[in-house]
Amino acid sequence: MIAPSTQFKQDAIRITGDDQRLNLIHTGMKKYEASRGVRQSAFKDWQSARQTAAEIKWDAINHLDTHLVEFADKLEANGAKVHWASNAQQARDIIMGIVRDKGARSIVKSKVMTGEEIHLNQALEKEGYDVVESDLGEYIVQLRHEEPYHFVFPAMHLARGEISDLFERELGSAPTDNPEELTMIARRAIREKYITADIGISGANFGVAETGMISITENEGNARLTCAMPNVHISLMGIEKVLPKLRDLAIFLPMLATAGSGQALTGYNSMYRGPRAEGESDGPEEFHVVLLDNRRTELLADPEQRDALHCIRCGACLNVCPIYRNIGGHAYGTTYQGPIGSVITPHLRGLQDWKHLSGASSLCGACTQTCPVKINLHEHLLQNRRNASSEKPVWWEKIAFKLAGFAMNRPALFQLGLKVAHLAQPLHGLVKGSVLDPARAWTKTRELPEVAGESFRDYWKKRS
């Protein structure tokens, strides 16, 4: 198997050359930026809202043990069944167990990023179950046999024409450039599934410990149908999604909508606390909540980076990230793309295999500046680099910095180096851009600056 870092570089080269795709991404992100700006300014004070949200999440994460137990107890008191999954395999086994137990054939899913994380669809499909994504973007990438491009906007990389072609090929619909018509084509196909599905699988944007509820934010109404129509509802939720109080949603629902999609509130926000109760006319007969750790507790054990668990998966850091905007989502090769993905993936899937994502950043800090819950994202990228280097040093880098440090700490040697570089400059032209060029990584697309004949140091010496 090709190493993730090699794959990443290959993909980055390919995608940075695909202007058409990148222009689509840029246009989408500019629209997001504009609407988000409007919504953000509707907050009385966005910065203090961020502070409040960060404090609530701090409490939630630093007292996760008690909040989680309260959440699970309340859910069970409401008639839900709570399952604890330490890792992806356990989570899959739990869900497969429920599915088998119910003798289910057909499964409908609303958007579940934790499902992507544990590769749930592949596991279900391997056993012959019919699994359909009901979120429009997820449905589109499912038909294309692709991973989501962005954990909030899964199909943002596709132009309308491409979606029309896909529907024509997969669903036999007539070609159209009209987004409403495209939505209707997908809706007709998916609606059938809600009626026939035995099981609905959702994620959870928040879990409220105080009341034992999960909260789901969406725009299409598909999650409501997924959670309410089939006889069994399974929610797969990361343990970091717990909030202490119901009132906390008063800040998190508008914040998620604003930072996530530039909306005041999303079209639908629903809360689920248990299965159909006696006397109720609808809702599932069974409600299962699967709480997923999958190495989140390892992040929790790291006081320096624990705040990465504050993440509400709004995707704002991806939207503003110049790296994401120039390489797109698939290049990351992760469930969670962009800055937050680069921060947490090394914790979730191994530092040495995924450290390149922390390296692939100019550390511009746009992510940290935008994060609604104030995660110090770019600082964590730096810390990942440091941790990777102290765990397993890259020998050539270590030697290079040792040599550089040796010269830097001897100004006379540094100055001699500059003189040599100045004199050798004309020779560089002979190898510039070729495989012999030591500065090839730079000179392939850029000219090198000239080393001045008279350095600042020379000027200073002359003056005094």
Binding site: K9, A12, I13, T16, G17, L22, H26, P322, I323, N326, I327, G359, A360, S361, S362, L363, C364, G365, A366, T368, Q369, L382, N384, R385, R386, N387, A388, S389, S390, P393, E397, K398, F401, K402, A404, G405, M408, N409, P411, F414, L418, A421, A441, W442, K444, T445, R446, E447, L448, P449, E450, V451, A452, E454, S455, F456, R457, D458, Y459, W460
Partner: protein, 238 residues
């Protein structure tokens, strides 16, 4: 006031005009300059690569030499952020922890020093040209420098400032990132050059020569006439 000027290695080597301009401006304002010749680099390349021990080897000398200065002015937003924000982190838990904090508290980037510390905006400069300003990320987000360079440029006779789209978006330099991921760095830089070019300005101005080195490198390769120039050079123009 005695101002200790920290000239980062690449300014010393490739962009001495930026440093010389700073000396001229500060002396014109009546300050005396202390230039610590024994210092070269702040250690940021090693720090950003995760090699913190190697970074400390270089940074220790900087802390020791500058900690007793009255005021330290750094000729680059990025190196300024290194001294101001990252040294305290780099030296946390070491014997220089307190010294790093002390140094941080007296360190400023050049334009910030002029406007926020000295309260000066009009330096009597004349630079008849249309320019656009690129906000270097470290200056902008680590040090909060946005209005200071613009306040200085507003007083320059004959100068017209036209803001480019996404002036606050990273140019793609990012230190070692530019060499480790040249394809991404170049794609980011191309967008920056495009946005700057759209303003029809003659110069891209910044308070960070490292961004400008990358941008100029791209412009030169593409044969564009747009030029980059450090803010200090404009402020020293007559």
């Amino acid at each position: 006031m005695k101002v200790t000027l920290f000239i980062p290695c690449f300014i010393d080597a490739c962009f001495p005009r930026a440093g010389i301009s700073m000396v001229e401006i500060l002396e014109q304002l009546g300050h005396s300059i202390d230039y610590p010749e024994e210092l070269t680099c702040c250690g940021q390349p090693a720090f950003n690569s995760g090699c913190w021990a190697e970074a400390r080897d270089v940074a220790e000398r900087v802390v020791d030499r500058l900690v007793d200065a009255d005021a330290v002015v750094v000729a680059s937003g990025s190196c300024g952020a290194m001294l101001h924000n990252f040294y305290p982190e780099l030296f946390a838990g070491t014997e220089r922890e307190q010294a790093a904090k002390t140094l941080a508290s007296k360190t400023s980037e050049f334009s910030d020093f002029l406007v926020s510390k000295l309260g000066v905006t009009n330096l009597g400069a004349r630079f008849p040209a249309k320019v656009t300003f690129h906000d270097g990320c470290h200056g902008l987000r680590e040090l909060g420098i946005k209005d200071q360079p613009r306040a200085l440029l507003a007083e320059v006779e004959g100068l017209e400032l036209v803001e480019m789209e996404d002036a606050e978006t990273c140019c793609g330099f990012g230190g070692t990132f530019a060499a480790k991921f040249p394809m991404i760095s170049t794609a980011m830089g191309d967008r920056k050059c495009g946005n700057a070019g759209d303003t029809e300005a003659e110069f891209i101005v910044s308070n960070d020569s490292s961004c400008l080195m990358h941008i100029q490198g791209l412009l030169d390769r593409q044969g564009q006439s747009l030029k980059t120039i450090h803010l200090a050079e404009i402020l020293a123009s007559r």
